[in-house]
Amino acid sequence: MARLLLLVALSLVTLAAACGSGEQAQPTGTATSQRAEREATVAQQQDAQAPQETVEAEPVQQSQQAQQAQRAQQAQQSVADVEQQQQTQQAQEEVEDAEPVDELPAEIVGVHKGVRSERHVLGEPDAPVEIRYFGDFT
């Protein structure tokens, strides 16, 4: 009987000890869970932050592309300006190369709208007044 009582007492002590260690494990599990939550939160924040950084990086990239496009456009404009200057210079040189003339030769004589006409000239050659018109048809 005494052995039986001793055995029961030992069992109770053992059971009590087991229950005590189980209560101590609970805070550890809670801490792990809280840590996991924090890590998850940080991960979410990092995930959320990463797209934001990508979004923030895009304007820079766009800006660089815009600058490159602007530089290319400026380069093209410079080339066009140089070509135009060359063409203008060439036209001026052609004009300067032409032989000087005092009077152009009179050619086919006819009548235009009732008035004596030659190439470039309307009217009588001995008229006291000469009206000279420098024009461009377009």
Partner: protein
């Protein structure tokens, strides 16, 4: 101005002064090619007075030439070979030499004639009076 020309008071001379590029140069050359066949003034009127921009092309020039009864083969050869290019450049040079820097520019007996018709006519009458006075002095 037409009356001054018609009555023998003045004669009118046209000089090409190209400032608007290829179309202007083509129109000038086509007019000169027409001049080879006695139709210079017909082209002048068509281009300057009528101002039909669509005719400042090869096809447009040939259309006018056909209407004026010109020899189209000769006319086409002339414009394709730019036969009067030098003549036009010479006129341009003459304009520069006379101080012309734009169009339209009028000179009346070599002097600036102004841009309005009334200003030009005033200059014509002044020049006619001056010429008459000079002639009177020579005769007297």
């Amino acid at each position: 101005m037409e009356e001054a020309i018609r009555t023998g008071l003045a004669r009118y001379e046209y000089r090409h002064f190209i400032i608007f590029g290829a179309a202007s140069e083509f129109a000038a050359m086509a007019t000169e090619c027409a001049g080879d066949q006695g139709a210079w003034w017909e082209f002048h009127d068509e281009y300057l007075l009528e101002g039909r921009a669509r005719t400042f092309t090869r096809a447009g020039a040939i259309e006018i030439a056909e209407r004026e009864g010109l020899d189209i083969a000769q006319f086409s050869r002339c414009i394709d070979n730019e036969e009067h290019r030098d003549r036009i450049l010479q006129m341009q040079q003459q304009g520069f030499a006379e101080g012309v820097n734009g169009t339209p520019t009028f000179r009346v007996n070599g002097e600036p004639g102004g841009r309005s018709l009334s200003a030009i006519l005033d200059k014509v009458h002044q020049a006619a009076e001056a010429a008459e006075a000079a002639e009177g002095q020579e005769g007297g």
